[in-house]
Symmetry: C2
Subunit: 314 residues, 2 copies
Amino acid sequence: MKCRKCGSKASVNMRQHKLALCKEHYLEWFPEQTERFIKKYEMFTREEKILVAVSGGKDSLALWDILTRLGYQADGLYIGLGIEEDIGYSSESHRLTQEFADERNLKLNCVDVEEEYGQPIPVLSELTHRGKGRPCSVCGLTKRHVMNRIARDLGYAVLATGHNLDDEAAVLFSNTINWLGEYLLRQSPVLPESPGLARKVKPLCRFYEKDMTAYALLRGIEYIYEECPYAVGSKTTYYKELLNQLEAKRPGAKLAFYTKFLEARKQGLFAEQEMVRATLNPCPNCGQPTSAPGLCSFCRLMERAALASTDVTE
Amino acid sequence: MKCRKCGSKASVNMRQHKLALCKEHYLEWFPEQTERFIKKYEMFTREEKILVAVSGGKDSLALWDILTRLGYQADGLYIGLGIEEDIGYSSESHRLTQEFADERNLKLNCVDVEEEYGQPIPVLSELTHRGKGRPCSVCGLTKRHVMNRIARDLGYAVLATGHNLDDEAAVLFSNTINWLGEYLLRQSPVLPESPGLARKVKPLCRFYEKDMTAYALLRGIEYIYEECPYAVGSKTTYYKELLNQLEAKRPGAKLAFYTKFLEARKQGLFAEQEMVRATLNPCPNCGQPTSAPGLCSFCRLMERAALASTDVTE
């Protein structure tokens, strides 16, 4: 297999694009494509301050790398979840993220969940009994809260996450297989800002997971190789495998599933009336917008955790 | 496993319904359910004449059996496709269908494609080069044409086919994975009559394929066990396998995928404007409605076949 640009030995072959590239041209092509998607979906400009949520994994570190290379004003946000288990997942990912930032002279904001909210994620999850034996639901809710808070408090216009195509296609598959209209209408590379909430963007949403890995490796980014121990065996992981079967049978199927969905929605496949948003009010405790009357889901979770923790210690 | 109704040994266990039944109660339950779907989707009444498309397979023969048991006026239509290959598929399915009708004193209309149109399906397919090396496209087009013609000429109000849930879910999956809006808007247990076209209904659209097999076996219906030799390795077969993986992981997933789709569409998920139908005109040759100017697809196919066949014999 030869590089389409220079004819030398290819390092990466992307069957979905019928495109093979050598290391040098892959590292050139990848940020160019990212720039193309940033423009296509009108994600942000070089004048806006961007907060990149970095986990220490390949996707988010590659995103931060690419955005700074492209000349965007991108700072990092690392959230310490306190997921240690056997492999020291959180401390290792923190170390790698901090090193990445230091080596490149980038600004990294850090929030430690245990320090700020009293307990690490696995304990919060146990105390509150939310989410069918996995802490993923509590983790997602907490991360969303913290990201929104830091973006608002530190004045970032945009919040960027490293979701890749496999992530997006798996979520879309889950929403489609269950015909969750509300979620189908909302899933998007860009969620516009609303009062109290920064714009949310996913600049990597059209890159395959395996191509993300190739980028991080070829660029020499040191990232945490392990998945979060709680992700193993999850529904999302299962849907990813299923989509990979489709992809193996028909290269490009995964990408087409996602992009054709965006295109069909843009062309008006779905009814407009469903787009009506619930009225949002500020949470009386944290001030973040919530559709529920009274406290937002996160503050209710914290309240439950505090109560349960008092019960335990009494 | 025990029968929920009488406590004796169960013959069939339907995990998607959390329901196990013995032979006697299964054979009772199955037509009752069919009647429920006929009513729910307003398919037809006992006053209407129904034409059941029978292939000699388990689904269509079971459908004919059930409709006559329920007291509907249902005649059969067998279309001889001339697919013989190694296993004598068409002659064997014709024999079984005819026997089924004779034993029950039912009226069976027969149309032989080769007799009426000059060539069997595999030859028509070869002559016309339609459909990527498989005769399935030509076969589908021909069957639709013949079914519509017989329903119109013999005055049937309704055309019933034996599509089961696995068939419908696989088609839905294919349309969804490719976001084919037009098809998503049209796939339905009932297609209303339009000028020149009988109403089309699928009374078995909520029964799993394996439960259809159980019904045919327990009822003692003799049907052709082999699939059409051209169906092996088809895209539809592949999607069925994929949906069965989902089903194995979560019993009921296949049914939920289909019924939640129907429900979401009914609740207005999709935009109305897409429902606008192309204007249909009668084909100048056969008189069946067509959206194309001039001859309909079937008559154009026949024209191509006739031309190609002259080329060959000259």
